[in-house]
């Protein structure tokens, strides 16, 4: 106990250098944890963009391409799937539900996804999260449109506002506008932290309707285009979709269905397991995260070494102190423990402060991070990995403490009781 008191008083006596040491450790711990949390959040946001869908089916292309254009709106589909094929697969007894996606149009830099009621009913992300409405209702009528939370925020839309979809452009301003056939906002979605927030949803019917009368990729003239008010749900026949999500009744059936779809003879199709492809993709991306982690570990080591150098530098000034302790009965081992305790204590305080700052920062900033970056952190606030890191750092801090401790006990033996300074 007395050694504890001695160590603490001694540290307090050197409060400035002790504080600097603690701060450098705290900052590096904070960095380490922040990188870890960022990694978790981005992995979560990434691999959990779509959940519960067993298969994602599209025209034959690379699985990466399929997932990128369907889930993240990057790149574009090479081919579409005919409605007939879609309905054919839908009828397969193994299928529980499907969510069709028809892509290709945009709205002021946001992409337009044409889908049907199944999207609102079955789409899940981050485990069991449903697509929820801030206000309004799903876009089920031909001219209905539902906007994601970010679309609404950026373009300042309200319910029942009238908007125009641009043809063929999913990024930036459109050149050809479907301005003869405006849509009306029927619903606004709650923020999800996924690509849904940056998406405009219409019905498959609406997508088909704005492209009626188009010939060879060019807009119909005013005279030969069907007027908007003459179109009814019955008069529109959906010809094709881009891709669709699918859930099977059982996972075992998924594998067989995937094989069957990949071998579908009428049309070249590809079925991928979205979660698997996303985690594949994430593994590729995680190189960056590994680099970040290495950097933060380096920072950690620098922090610990700065502690080492501070303690070592202080040691010379404290030779006298060691001599006195030795003259009144403290052995080299006790001096050694005293110094090990010192660095363990500094490391521990640094760890705790670092952890607290990091937790507090994420707690305070989480709302902002969510809204700005779609940065969601779910699950434990401190994970096993993080505890492991903290333990590792702590152990390393203790080990580092043995260096000055060893030196001090050697000095104590060499100096005897009369270190001249």
């Amino acid at each position: 106990m007395i050694y504890l008191k001695l160590a603490l008083k001694s540290l307090r006596n050197r409060i400035f250098s002790s504080a600097l040491t603690v701060i450098s450790i705290a900052l590096s711990v904070m960095l380490l944890l922040a990188v870890e949390r960022t990694k978790r959040a981005s992995e979560e946001g990434f691999t959990q963009s779509v959940s519960q869908a067993d298969l994602l089916v599209g025209a034959r292309t690379g699985p990466l391409n399929l997932i990128l254009y369907t889930v993240f709106n990057m790149g574009s589909a090479s081919n579409n799937i005919s409605m007939q094929t879609y309905e054919d697969i839908q009828k397969n007894p193994a299928v529980e539900w499907t969510i069709p996606y028809s892509l290709g149009d945009g709205h002021k830099g946001f992409r337009v996804v044409a889908t049907d009621e199944n999207f609102y009913q079955h789409y899940r992300f981050r485990g069991d999260q449903k697509v929820e409405f801030l206000s309004g209702k799903p876009a089920l009528d031909i001219w209905d449109v539902v906007v994601g939370s970010e679309v609404q925020k950026k373009l300042n839309y309200n319910l029942n506002d009238s908007i125009v979809i641009a043809h063929g452009v999913t990024r930036g301003e459109g050149i050809q506008l479907h301005d003869d056939k405006p849509f009306k906002i029927s619903g606004i979605l709650k923020p999800t932290g996924t690509a849904i927030d940056q998406t405009v949803y219409i019905s498959l019917l609406g997508m088909e309707a704005i492209h009626i009368d188009w010939k060879n990729g060019s807009q119909p003239t005013k005279e030969n285009s069907t007027p908007q008010d003459q179109m009814t749900k019955e008069s529109i026949k959906i010809g094709q979709i881009t891709s669709f999500f699918l859930r099977t009744k059982s996972r075992i059936q998924t594998l067989k269905l995937q094989r069957d779809i990949n071998n579908y003879s009428e049309e070249p199709l590809m079925a991928i397991i979205p979660g698997a492809t996303l985690s594949d993709l994430w593994r590729g991306l995680s190189n960056i995260e590994t680099v970040l982690k290495i950097i933060s570990f380096m920072v950690m080591i620098v922090g610990l070494f700065s502690m080492l150098s501070t303690i070592l530098a202080g040691l010379n000034e404290r030779r006298r102190e060691m001599s006195i302790l030795r003259s009144i009965g403290a052995g080299p081992l006790q001096l050694c423990l005293l110094l090990v305790f010192e660095s363990a204590f500094l490391t521990f305080i640094g760890l705790m402060i670092g952890l607290l700052i990091e937790l507090a920062a994420f707690f305070i900033l989480s709302g902002w991070l969510e809204s700005q970056f779609g940065f969601y952190v779910t699950g434990d606030s401190v994970t096993k990995t993080e505890i492991l890191y903290l333990l590792l750092v702590f152990i390393f801090g203790i080990l580092i403490g043995f260096i000055p401790a060893y030196r001090a006990s050697r000095l104590a033996l060499k100096d005897g009781l009369s270190a001249r300074i």
């Binding site: 981005s42 946001g45 990434f46 959940s51 519960q52 067993d54 034959r60 292309t61 690379g62 699985p63 990466l64 391409n65 990128l68 993240f72 709106n73 990057m74 485990g127 932290g193 996924t194 690509a195 940056q198 059982s250 996972r251 075992i252 998924t254 594998l255 990949n262 590809m270 991928i272 397991i273 979205p274 979660g275 698997a276 492809t277 985690s279 594949d280 993709l281 590729g284 991306l285 190189n287 960056i288 970056f373 779609g374 940065f375």
Partner: protein, 186 residues
């Protein structure tokens, strides 16, 4: 999120494009790659299935039809070896009490329609064959949250195994090269 992702994607597009290409060859076109194989595991609650498919060469050592007694014996031995080793190649947590039973183990000659067009493949027709092994698994506890270890070292010629796992909402893939790989199901 998307901004972050797009930066990632831009930075890695080249290497990933190459990667994805390779994968698409593997899975979607079921290209016949010696040394390559796929292993799919799916679970509904406590019942699951293990499906292995790979170039026969990796398991047996050759792909032509077994005609000689020697060849037939090699095939029979390989099949037996695969069957008996499955529980050490796909290792479930012992506390789950999983029992693996054979459903089907066979060698399938590949009838590649598009190969017929190639002059070369006419000569080799029927020489590519796949080794297919399906197993049923019944566990006493859910595999969710547990770990599965893949160790295909008994078959030295299988050196690139693509593993896909489906357990309820969990969808995972991993690649098993020469060393054993452990995957957490969560």
């Amino acid at each position: 999120m998307k901004k972050v992702i797009s930066i990632f994607i831009l930075g890695l597009s080249l290497s990933l494009a190459a990667e994805s290409h390779k994968h698409s060859e593997h899975r979607e076109h079921e290209a016949h790659v010696h040394g390559g194989a796929t292993l799919n595991i799916a679970f509904d609650q406590l019942k699951g299935k293990i499906e292995f498919k790979g170039a026969a060469d990796g398991v047996i050592g050759f792909e032509h039809a077994a005609k000689s007694d020697q060849d037939k014996k090699t095939v029979a031995d390989a099949i037996l070896k695969f069957e008996t080793n499955i529980s050490t190649m796909v290792v479930f947590d012992t506390t789950l009490g999983c029992v693996v039973s054979k459903e089907l183990v066979e060698i399938q000659a590949e009838d590649h329609a598009d190969h017929k067009d190639e002059k070369k493949s006419n000569k080799h027709k029927g020489q590519h064959s796949d080794f297919i092994a399906n197993f049923n698994v019944v566990c006493a506890k859910s595999v969710l949250g547990s770990k599965i270890t893949f160790d295909f070292t008994p078959f030295k010629r299988i050196n690139d195994l693509d593993v896909t796992i489906l357990v309820d909402a969990v969808q995972k893939t991993t690649e098993v090269k020469k060393k054993p790989v452990t995957l957490e199901i969560k």
